[in-house]
């Protein structure tokens, strides 16, 4: 029963959704503070290439993910300087970040005598829980068969949800994103919080990219995120900037991405290019549908100061 198509595809949806979820979770923090960073795709790529390199060199999953996350955070600081300190157009800065990230990652990934393109994955990703649990019918593979990152990510969603809505730092963060002038007047460090939130977002994207290359794909390829970062950006909006909804959405996207595999086993032949389209068409339909429903639109409002640079003198 545990080899049935449905069980396997639900299980793989969780794994495929995790990198998107990590990136989206980071971006939620960033955007909640009022900074829109469209550079997720670029930060994921940098996180992936650096994380993969670290995996090849050390074989440690934790170290690879952390180093990948730090690389993503480093790149996000470029956006932070431009968007927060220099107050430039955040859309443009974010897009430039994607171009820089994809160029730099492709360059680094292909550099050297034996480039990362020719390297095998150096990290073993093992299931976390004992075989007794994993072998349970149905729930075994779906709930208990995953590696540690899947579970930690769910934990992070819970923490992020809790912190954002039920703690003083979370309230401050949201205040900075809703009304930076009032937050500033109340004694919060708007600039400092926005830098921190941007770096957290970059870290999330970097970890997501590193996990994607190490655990989901297994090899480094130029531009291997193939739009995952953009899906994460869309997901943040779809989820209304709320962590738990992002989790649901990310797993749904994971399921859609894995659909090809499922259908292949079920012997339904759909050209792979159409399967590639499905998550993007789904995102398109959901975005349009959400905007068409007036009640939801009112409840799910973007942070009021999203994408607006804060300038004290214009208060």
């Amino acid at each position: 029963m545990n080899d049935s198509v449905l069980v396997l595809s639900i299980a793989s949806a969780l794994v495929a959704g995790t990198p998107i979820l990590l990136a989206a979770l980071g971006e939620i923090i960033t955007e909640r503070a009022g900074v829109m960073n469209l550079g997720v795709e670029g930060m994921m790529l940098i996180g992936a290439v650096v994380g993969f390199w670290c995996g090849v060199s050390t074989g440690s999953l934790t170290l690879s993910l952390v180093v990948g996350g730090l690389a993503g955070a480093a790149l996000s600081l470029v956006h932070a300087v431009l968007a927060i300190t220099l107050r430039v157009n955040q859309t443009v800065s974010g897009l430039s970040l994607v171009i820089l990230g994809s160029g730099l990652s492709a360059f680094l990934g292909a550099a050297g005598e034996t480039s990362l393109l020719e390297r095998a994955n150096g990290v073993d990703v093992d299931p976390l829980l004992p075989a007794a649990l994993r072998d349970l019918p149905v729930v075994g593979p779906i709930l208990f068969g995953h590696d540690v990152v899947v579970y930690v990510t769910v934990l992070l969603v819970a923490v992020a949800g809790r912190v954002l809505y039920r703690s003083a730092p979370g309230l401050s963060l949201r205040a900075v994103g809703e009304d930076p002038a009032a937050a500033d007047a109340a004694g919060l460090h708007v600039v400092r919080m926005r830098y921190l939130a941007t770096a957290i977002g970059g870290f999330g994207a970097g970890v997501g990219g590193a996990y994607l290359v190490i655990a989901v794909l297994g090899t480094w390829q130029t531009g291997m995120t193939a739009g995952a970062g953009w899906i994460a950006v869309a997901l943040v909006i779809l989820a209304g900037w709320r962590p738990w909804l992002a989790l649901v959405g990310a797993y749904a996207f994971g399921a859609l991405r894995g659909l090809g595999f499922t259908l292949q086993i079920a012997q339904v032949s759909i050209p792979s290019d159409f399967l590639t389209m499905i998550p993007f068409i789904a995102a398109y339909i959901v975005v349009v549908a959400v905007s068409a429903s007036p009640t939801r639109a009112r409840k799910v409002a973007a942070p009021a100061a999203l994408g607006v640079p804060y300038h004290r003198e214009e208060r």
């Binding site: 670029g42 300087v81 909006i237 590639t276 068409i281 398109y284």
Partner: protein, 375 residues
């Protein structure tokens, strides 16, 4: 005694500042690039020298650069006109693919004996229409439901890319050459090839420049242009003034999509001569957005910026000969974009040093100017 940085807004940046800052930003980007190149063991000066030779040194090199700049000018214009109205069309990438699909389809469908003028004209029109329609998928929800167009246009890019890949790699479609085992687009007839100006440079470049001038004129001198600019500056004011915002949104996004579609048609007609996903999916659309931003959304500014970017991109092929990866050019583009974008701050603000002493009386630069004016 320590000093601290003081930032004051410039009232009206002088020409020197407006031209000088991007130039300095460019040097900064080249410097950063040199550091990265150096760290990875390449000789920065050799790299830059090779880049210059490959794209600007000599007639052949310049032809190649201008040819490469052609689609970038058009996607830059596509972004500039939409962004001017604060309609963030990130979808030039996909609209370009649709334009290429339509243009190559038309070229293969029409009788090969059709006169070149009609043939190329039909391809350009078909490309424009296809691009505009593809943009419509984002424009209609935005105009009538207020749907965020950044996300919809982006998602549509990936759909368009998969569609184009399907036509060549995923099926034996009308677009694919049936005689070859390796997937490849069907070659369009000679009459569908864009006439040549000199060497590789084709008439498409002239078309792109003409469209830039036209767009500049329309935005500046027509009622439509005035409406677009008004909506861009203040949608609310535009509504009070009785400007139909939904209609203007549809029109601007259609124009934007059409420009990107023309870019696709010109690439097929002038460069690839077939529907070739590998040479079309090189992020021309995304690059156009940043080009438009660097050109401050001015259609005339788009042309030189696109040519400059093309000069860097065309150098990619020559990197191989000195043992440096092609990808270095994308990295350089990213650095330049970020650096020039950052430079914008220094155009609009003046940075000065002030010794940190006892708090000075609160006289701002503006107030000081006013005092001077009064005396």
């Amino acid at each position: 005694m320590t000093s601290r940085l003081v930032v004051t807004p410039r009232a009206k940046p002088s020409m020197t500042v407006r031209a000088g800052v991007p130039f300095v930003a460019l040097l900064v980007a080249l410097g950063l690039g040199a550091v990265i190149l150096g760290l990875t063991g390449a000789a920065p000066l050799t790299v830059y020298r090779t880049m210059f030779d490959a794209s600007l040194n000599g007639a052949r090199a310049i032809e190649r650069t201008l040819t490469y700049a052609t689609p970038l000018i058009l996607t830059g214009l596509a972004a500039a006109v939409a962004f001017r109205m604060k309609a963030y069309n990130i979808g030039a990438e996909g609209q370009l693919f649709l334009g290429a699909i339509a243009a190559s389809g038309l070229a293969l469908q029409l009788p090969a004996g059709t006169p070149a003028v009609l043939m190329v004209g039909a391809m350009l029109l078909g490309g424009a229409l296809a691009g505009a329609l593809w943009a419509g998928f984002a424009a209609v929800p935005r105009a009538f439901l207020g749907t965020d167009e950044i996300i919809t246009t982006l998602m549509l890019n990936f759909v368009a890319l998969a569609l184009m890949n399907y036509l060549i790699f995923g099926s034996f479609s009308f677009w694919r050459d049936p005689t070859r085992p390796v997937p490849q687009g069907n070659t369009i007839p000679d009459s569908a090839a864009m006439p040549v100006i000199s060497g590789r440079l084709h008439v498409g470049f002239a078309i792109a420049v003409a469209l830039a001038v036209l767009l500049w004129w329309v935005l500046r001198n027509t009622t439509f242009g005035f409406r677009v600019r008004t909506i861009g500056d203040s949608p609310r004011a535009a509504r009070y003034a009785g400007i139909g915002v939904p209609f203007a949104t549809l029109a601007v996004l259609a124009i934007s999509g059409a420009l990107a579609g023309v870019a696709g048609a010109i690439e097929v007609s002038g460069v690839t001569n077939r529907l070739d996903p590998k040479s079309l999916a090189i992020e021309l659309g995304y690059t156009g957005i940043v080009i438009a931003a660097v050109a401050r959304l001015n259609p005339l500014g788009v042309v030189p910026v696109a040519i400059f970017l093309a000069a860097i991109a065309t150098a990619g092929g020559s990197m191989q000969s000195i043992g440096v990866r092609v990808e270095v050019v994308v990295m350089m583009q990213g650095l330049i974009f970020l650096s020039v974008t950052a430079g914008e701050f220094f155009v609009t603000n003046r940075i000065g040093l002030r010794p940190a002493g006892p708090p000075e009386p609160a006289v701002t630069a503006a107030a000081a100017d006013a005092l001077e004016g009064a005396s």
